[in-house]
């Protein structure tokens, strides 16, 4: 039949053409890779474009620029569920993840260990600049958007309410993806939003948001995200895990070393990894300068037991697992021995 004689070859041509084009343009299959990252097994780390995870792309970028041999590969996700699933199905060896979420997963039997932190502080609660909310007490009866029930942002709301004797039933909590929060606040769909940066700072930069409080003022040394690794990976690839933690630690030190480093990080991360406006990231990383900190990221028992207790009270965790079950602080390098990366943006 002429139909098949003409249509089938055309279809075959299309399939071959589009496949080759895709491999060339998107997978870089035909360009030789810089460095020789191909020989060792890849070590994939998941992240989401939030400042909490900044050390991830920074480490990778610096590695790449220094042409250091590394099998560390950051993989970007746009939402928590996909990141969680990719980690659970072992497509990622490690990932940045919300601290309570890691603990909850451990409770549900996932063999992971928290080995490092993402950063300290770096979370803000914002309200609309026109709103009547001036103090935390004014949140009574209002709607607050949080990123996830298994987040420390939710726990900080709980803690803040508890300290002021406001029962949680008098506050309405809404789970919302962080990228949607700025728009929701602008149209006043919610009264307050709390999440990691840079989404909070965006409302400030765009002129309709006002800071209600910084977490560093309510819960000092607040932890948002942690670095979690599969137990299997810890067992089989100890050296790689240690390399990763060392890299992240010294990248963190580099970030905190000087404002210029932060500006540079905003620049290359915004453009290459986060696809966010570098100006926004610069703002977050500098106003005020201690809005977010990348050092002192040790995994400490007391920090986590504090989270555990709060989570238990809030009903988020059931208390089945303890620090030794879900954490492994053995990788944390000695604070004094961490050296910042020796690198400048050309």
């Amino acid at each position: 039949m002429p139909f098949f004689r003409r249509v089938l070859p055309a279809i075959l041509c299309w399939i071959v053409a589009i496949t080759l084009l895709h491999m060339w343009v998107n997978l870089g299959s035909f360009t030789p890779k810089s460095g020789s990252g191909g020989s060792a097994a890849p070590f994939r780390v998941g992240f989401i474009p939030v400042t909490c995870h900044l050390t991830c792309p920074v480490t990778h970028f610096i590695n790449d620029s220094l042409q250091e041999e590394s099998n560390f590969e950051p993989i970007r996700f746009s939402a928590w569920p996909e990141l969680k699933e990719a980690f659970l199905s072992e497509h990622l060896e490690a990932t940045f993840i919300l601290a309570p979420m890691a603990m909850a997963l451990r409770e549900q039997g996932v063999p992971l260990k928290i080995v490092y932190l993402g950063h300290r502080d770096g979370t803000t609660m914002m309200v609309h600049k026109d709103s009547s909310i001036r103090r935390i007490e004014d949140l009574r009866g209002k709607t607050i958007a949080v990123p996830n029930r298994f987040s420390n942002q939710r726990l900080i709301v709980f803690r803040a309410m508890r300290e002021r004797n406001i029962p949680m039933s008098q506050v309405k909590l809404l789970e919302m993806p962080p990228p949607d929060m700025p728009a929701a606040l602008q149209v006043k769909a919610v009264d307050a939003i709390i999440s990691g940066e840079p989404f909070m700072a965006q409302t400030e930069m765009d002129g309709y948001g006002r800071i209600l409080f910084l977490t560093k003022d309510v819960w000092p040394d607040f932890i948002s995200c942690v670095l979690a690794v599969h137990e299997k990976t810890i067992r089989d690839r100890r050296a790689d895990v240690q390399n990763l933690v060392d890299g992240i630690a010294s990248s963190g030190k580099w970030l905190d070393q000087s404002p210029k480093h932060r500006m540079d990080a905003a620049e290359f991360t915004g453009k290459n990894y986060y696809h966010q406006d570098p100006a926004l990231l610069s703002f977050v990383l500098s106003k005020p300068p201690d809005r977010v900190k990348y050092t002192n990221l040790r995994v400490l028992r007391k920090d986590f037991e504090e989270i555990e207790a709060l989570a238990l009270e809030a009903g988020v965790l059931s208390g089945k697992v303890k620090f030794d079950d879900y954490a492994d602080p053995s990788f944390v390098p000695d604070e004094a021995s961490i050296k910042p990366r020796n690198w400048e943006l050309p």
């Binding site: 002429p2 279809i11 994939r44 746009s78 990719a86 497509h91 990228p179």
Partner: protein
């Protein structure tokens, strides 16, 4: 009144003629009309955004500038190729799997009774619900969105192939058997050509669905594609101009894909099913 068969009809009287061919009026109207409607729509869009005073929703010119920006960064080509690649493979595999299964289920009532309920139970499940499964099985590679697109397309294809077989008229099967056709020849010479138009219609619809699902399918951690562009732009803050640019690209390419399918339908092997609208 007498019926007279000793009379023969006069030579000039044609008691039967072929039906007149109505030439399709593809004139300047068919081209300029849609262009006018499109322009009208753009003007309406611009006015609506201005009138609503929204600071977030982009106007047509903003979207145009966004497209230009993507082109300059070289992302336009990359993203279009990526999405087309995934839809090609997802849809292609769906056709490869769905058409034969649909034909078999349509032809053998036993198989139909056995498997159809299962298929109808799977069909309404949205591809978005399959995302966790896709990640679990395929991780973070192109395979995961291809899988989702496959799922979205395979069911419409199967169902239309089934229906196509069941619609083959018994008369024609009898006539074919009368000529001594074996089962294999019956399939090749009767079932295939008789069902081809309806199968193609099913494929055209499924292609539309596949392209529609590309946004959901690229929500997984791929880092290219038009669906990814939309999700990423949303995550990047206020780039709603790029969000709408992504939508525009998806719409235009979807339309072109449909046009291509319609060209396929002009072959005689397919055209015979479409009534007497003229050659």
């Amino acid at each position: 009144m007498t019926l007279i068969s000793t009379w023969s009809p006069p030579p000039g009287l044609s008691t039967e003629t072929s039906l007149p061919s109505i030439a399709p009026r593809v004139s300047w109207a068919a081209f300029w009309l849609p262009v006018a409607v499109g322009l009208g729509f753009l003007l309406f869009w611009d006015a609506a955004v201005r009138f609503s005073g929204s600071e977030l929703f982009p106007k047509p010119l903003d979207v145009g500038r966004g497209l230009l920006e993507l082109g300059q960064k070289g992302l336009l080509f990359k993203y279009i190729i990526a999405s087309l690649f995934r839809v090609t493979w997802g849809f292609g595999l769906a056709a490869l799997v769905g058409v034969p299964i649909g034909l078999v289920l349509g032809w053998y009532p036993f198989a139909h009774a056995a498997f159809n309920p299962l298929i109808q139970a799977f069909r309404p499940i949205s591809p978005i619900a399959w995302i966790p499964v896709a990640i679990l099985w395929f991780g973070v590679s192109d395979a995961a969105p291809i899988f989702l697109i496959f799922l979205a397309s395979v069911f419409p294809i199967m169902v239309s192939a089934m229906a196509a077989v069941q619609n083959v008229q018994a008369v024609q099967i009898r006539a074919a058997r009368n000529f001594g056709l074996s089962s294999g020849e019956l399939f090749r010479k009767v079932i295939l050509p008789a069902t081809l138009p309806q199968i193609l219609t099913g494929l055209r619809i499924a292609l539309g669905v596949a392209w529609l699902v590309v946004v959901a399918a690229e929500m997984i951690a791929v880092n290219s594609g038009l669906g990814y562009l939309i999700i990423d732009s949303r995550n990047a803050g206020k780039r709603y101009d790029l969000v709408v640019a992504g939508m525009v690209l998806i719409g235009v390419i979807g339309w072109l894909l449909d046009l291509a399918m319609r060209q396929v339908e002009r072959f005689p092997s397919v055209k015979w099913a479409y009534g007497n609208r003229g050659e």
